[in-house]
Amino acid sequence: MTSATLLFLVIGLGLMAWFFGRLKAAGLQARDANARSVLHSLPNYHGWYVALWAILPAVLFMTVWSFVSPALITDAALTSPAAAQLPQDGFARAAILSEARAIAYGNQVNAFNPLSQSMVEPYRDAIAHYQMIGAIAALLLVFACGAYAWLKIKPDLRARTKIERVTMLLLLLASLIAIITTVGIFLSLVFETARFFSMVSPIDFLFGTEWNPKAVAGPRGETGFGAIPLFWGTIFIGAIIAMIVAIPLGLMSAVYLTQYAPAKFRSWMKPILEVLAGVPTVVYGYFAALTVAPALRDFAVSIGISNASSESALAAGIVMGIMIIPFVSSMADDSIAAVPSAMRDGSLAMGATQSETIKKVLIPAALPGVVGGVLLAVSRAIGETMIVVMAAGLAANMTANPFASVTTVTAQIVQLLTGDQEFDSPKTLAAFALGLVLFIVTLLLNLIALRVVKKYREAYE
């Protein structure tokens, strides 16, 4: 019996348990119906009570079993006579065992190594054996726990309270999954980064100015893992060029939309801007690489910059800025709209014109919210990958020349982790260190931005 079949069987039995639980509760209610309802909870809750008792322990057991049983199966297979012929060498042994296991599970048809073929039978036996044990135990649990719960049904059983507690726990679990996953990602980054730093000094990595990752150290011990050029490239594109484009345009469009646009135009324009935020970044990447970058190179050549590259920080930065505009605009829009209309009226009643009111009252009052929005936009921009991979190039230059090719943290992570890699070389592990730095920086930016925005909201409530 496979685990999927078993799961369906358990759930089916659980539904039956629901039915019997409900039946019993309904019976109790019917018998004493002349008095005020004697059941603490409605029959349905009793049904769920029994069903959950029947299903949850069994599912829990099956989950644990699926982690425990592979080790037991391997142990059992190794006690078979065929195992005696296995080589003692750990690596070859593991290869044969995994091949045999794959065949036994039906994931692979033919054995590459004849020794594996001899191990298939012992494996099959062990798998069948332990699956049977698991299934029987699970079914026993269903019946035992179901029966226990069924027997507990009495008029004063607080089934509703218990069901509600279980529901709350489920909801809690759902909300924790995202957080736990993030913590898991963070931990895996930390561990891989620690391995990387055992090979390359953190000082060299964080403050070195030469990025030229090699698997082995050069003659003078230089490793080429100085990440400063990458940090600079990331800041240059994401926080400087992109923001020079996005902040004024986003802010101005927000001012227009909130203050000047006729309601009808606004009701069209806002959704369109928000749709732009949903364009896949790879599309912006095409645009940057195929349209903007060549045009900028031609422009640079025409004004006499001879070494202009076809991949430039400017192209990536401009397109990234355009990508961020809807984001900045909608945050600024919200902040300006949140300024109480009393402020605006106060200024207008003083005889200020609309533009004076916007410049001197609305924007200063909305500034904290706008700043928060910009910080969020920066954290998005520096984490952005596709545009820089396609348009900024891969040369780790430390330059302030916007027509030169630069590279960013994300582009290098892609570079380091695509294709074949060995996970014990510093070259691959460097990607995790870069990822960790990026993760921490964007996390901090988000944290600060959310605080600023929150504080700002409180100021007007």
Partner: protein, 280 residues
């Protein structure tokens, strides 16, 4: 909507006779502001129906009436703050010293510099006390230099009775003051551009009794220097601070006259019912 119109009709007839003879109340020289046959619509809904009224320089005019009677709406027409509401439409004629404020050659910016406004909830800008007062003089270019501006700020705060309390902390944020101080700051801010008329839209409704008393005292002191129109819910307040009172009901002006007459000897039964607390 139609029901509203119908209920307006009886009082309208009362109003017509009254509104046609505003001269009855003008014992002083030419009125500062005059309104004739003003209607205000919000979309299809009529909020003000044929109101005519004069506002004099030497007296404080109070607008009283139950909630939703249109007194605030009418007040906002007097410096065209209703322009900020796209669906609002004003018919009729409102004049400031003989100039039609709704004429196309009237610059609304100039108008609002001459007719200032204080709002229901204190609304200082999130700037320093100094910058709050200096805001108007700066945008209108009233000060010739730093000393000049300092002087305007000081005299405005003095007139608003706030100077003593804030002179040592002019750089603190205006929003850090207490509610009553904020409202006096807003009055000082309005005074700073040297207006001719100050409109006050329930200026004390968000304040405690002590702060209210201070504002009322201030209104007394400002009387004569500016034409003051105050909208209030509080009839005692109208009786205390004003010399003229206008009673609004359901968008019409029911009665307008000397405050003492309105409160002791009203001509209209509706007015009597309202001030004796029968409704509203």
């Amino acid at each position: 909507m139609h029901e509203d119109q119908k209920t307006l009709e009886p009082s309208e007839s009362v109003n017509m006779t009254d509104a046609a003879t505003p001269a009855k109340t003008s014992e002083s020289a030419t009125p500062k502001m005059t309104a004739r046959h003003v209607d205000v619509f919000y979309g299809d809904k009529q909020a003000i129906n044929d109101v005519s009224i004069d506002v004099n320089m030497d007296s404080v005019t109070a607008f009283i009436g139950p909630s939703g009677c249109g007194k605030s709406t009418f007040l906002r027409c007097m410096n065209r703050m209703n322009d900020t509401i796209p669906i609002a439409r004003v018919n009729g004629e409102i004049k400031l010293e003989g100039e039609d404020i709704y004429a196309s050659k009237m610059d609304v910016v100039q108008l609002r510099a001459r007719v200032g406004m204080v709002f229901q909830k204190p609304n200082p800008f999130p700037k320093s006390i100094y910058d709050n007062i200096a805001y108007g003089p700066r945008i209108h270019g009233l000060a010739t230099g730093k000393e000049d501006l300092d002087e305007i700020v000081e005299s405005s705060l003095q007139r608003a009775g706030l100077w003593g309390e804030v002179k040592d902390r002019l750089q603190d944020s205006g929003t850090a003051l207490s509610g009553g101080q904020q409202q006096r700051l807003c009055i000082a801010r309005a005074i700073a551009v040297d207006p001719e008329v100050i409109l006050m839209d329930e200026p004390c409704s968000a304040l405690d009794p002590i702060a209210t008393a201070k504002i009322e005292e201030l209104i007394h002191e400002l009387r004569g220097k500016y034409a003051i129109v105050i909208v209030t819910h509080n009839m005692q307040q109208a009786a205390r601070v004003s010399q003229k009172t206008a009673f609004f009901h359901l968008g019409t002006l029911v009665e307008y006259g000397d405050t003492t007459d309105i409160f002791t000897n009203p001509r209209e039964e509706k007015t009597r019912d309202y001030i004796t607390g029968r409704y509203g």
